[in-house]
């Protein structure tokens, strides 16, 4: 079982949550969140670099932050279970990817987006030739793209054609509480090996037994592994 925690960091290393990559809301100290995840059994950290950073002109700054060798000490030295973190980039900027690898990140992934195929394929190709295919992964954001089998088959075919190391299915939520089991079963049928990672919002409420050999990607969003539930979702802060 491989569990991956996802963090969106501000330039100041604050953990933030965004709504469609806008309106960042502070959601806690990233070091404590990492520790909680580590104690929960998470083995890897994943940093999201998003439109928010680009929009606020801080995309490069984040690269500098993650490019700082201290970040690995900051996260890895004090949290014994963690491996060197990976990082997802929404838009491939090869220069930034190099910077991430230079500071010890072992993989860089790209979120799949229709209309951006050429750009992503080129980035994957460049990185694959330099760092090997295991250093790249492709992310399918289920909540954004949809749960249609045709789309999924197409996505899996594309990923295989491009030769990425791993696939991650992110944000597979049923009523924002737990993994959508039916969808996961559909994925299992489509998958040709067990290296597909399943992701969903809502903390660590995975259902190991039901989903057999599939691996999980847990997208933990708000402070620790706590998520807002109920009809009144009140955001923190006065």
């Amino acid at each position: 079982m491989r569990l991956i925690g996802e963090l969106i960091l501000s330039c100041e290393l604050d953990a933030i949550k965004t709504t469609s990559f806008n309106d960042p809301v502070y959601c806690g100290d990233c070091l404590n969140i990492s520790k909680i995840w580590s104690d929960s059994g998470i083995s890897e950290l994943l940093f999201s670099i998003t439109k928010y950073h680009r929009k606020n002109n801080s995309y490069k700054k984040i690269g500098n932050v993650t490019g700082n060798p201290e970040i690995n000490e900051y996260f890895s030295d004090y949290i014994s279970n963690l491996r060197v973190p990976a990082s997802i980039c929404i838009y491939p900027e090869i220069e930034d990817c190099h910077r991430l690898f230079e500071c010890g990140f072992d993989r860089v992934g790209f979120c799949y987006e229709k209309g951006k195929e050429t750009e992503i394929e080129y980035a994957v190709d460049v990185l694959r030739s330099q760092y090997g295919s295991q250093a790249t992964f492709l992310v399918y954001e289920v909540c954004k793209i949809g749960k249609y089998v045709d789309e999924l088959s197409e996505f899996i075919n594309i990923a295989e054609k491009w030769g990425v190391g791993e696939l991650i299915f992110k944000d597979i939520a049923a009523e924002n509480k737990c993994a959508d089991t039916e969808f996961c079963k559909k994925l299992a049928e489509l998958a040709r090996d067990s290296e597909i990672l399943i992701g969903y919002s809502g903390g660590l409420q995975y259902e190991k037994e039901k989903l057999g050999k599939l691996k999980f990607f847990s997208s933990l969003s708000l402070g620790g592994d706590i998520t807002f539930i109920g009809s009144n979702n009140v955001l923190p802060g006065f």
Binding site: D39, S40, Y78, L222, G223, I229, V234, G237
Partner: protein, 357 residues
Amino acid sequence: MKKAINSHFCNVCLMDHTAANFQAYEDIGCNYCLPVLMNKSGSSKHEDLEKILNNLHETPGEYKAVVGVSGGVDSSYVAHLLDQSGIKVLLVHMDNGWDSHLATSNIKKIVNGTRHDFVSYVLYWPELRDMQKSFMLADVVDIELLYDHAAAAILYYYAKKFKIKTIIDGVNQQTEGIKIPDNWRWYKYDGVNIRDISRRVTHVNYPYFGTIDRIKAKIKGIKRISLLNHISFQKNDALKKLEDRYKYQRYAGKHEESTFTKFYQDIILPNKFGVDKRKLHLSDLILNREIDRDQAVNAIKSVKTLEYFLDTDCFILNKLNLSKNEFRNYITRPIKKHSDFRNEYATVNFVKKIVRR
């Protein structure tokens, strides 16, 4: 008839001369445990509880009360009791950046297992870290004043926001009956003291709630209820129920839902201030007949030394951005009193006098 004796230790509980104004009495306890023992004579708690629950049922609005949850057994049990009574409340958690994995996991179990709604208020860690370091630089005993004060402020904030008139807490006489000695703590609503101690920090997000705010809230009709004082609360029974129903996991010690509180109680208090809070917690359990004195004496024997901590756990110092030497220096520096800084002591006394009249 109580007869004062010249002893450094109580023969009933674990309290001793490290507590301010400690006085042992022959055979019957000390000035800390005796008031609790005298207070335990059977009262009509259940009638009170019924009245409170009926009042809550009749309260208009979706949420009948605000309940603070830390992930600890007391607050979790309050949430459970209210759910069992069919009363929907808003559970409020303060994330101060020190929640342990177990605490977040237990909160989630309680939230998922009850019908209550939940909100987590996240304090801004960089500001809080600087305030906490200011408290350490000031060498005052009650560093947790920062968190206890903010927790109260947040409960009142949500009560106001959702127009809720009742705040319910997990405070109880049974497991927290003994008064915390004056030299181990400071007045929790003292916003002036907090501001003065951390005056070098730019305050932007920290939620203040001083004595005057508390009076204003009272005038507006917001009341606090300690629900567990109205039942025969047994910690072990409560834990058993939570474990069975929610798969709640117990902590090794009291208040260990926070990494910092554990560190504060295990390392800072004993090494810098000569205070062992376990004496207080275990004494409460003795008085509540959940353990006997011999068991408590055995439980208190193990002590974590400063050097052991420095060799094994750097997470806390790293998070506070403190070096080992800076921390050693802090531990050995002379202590100061909260009253050495500006405070609300005079205001509180004035209010008390008026209330007495």
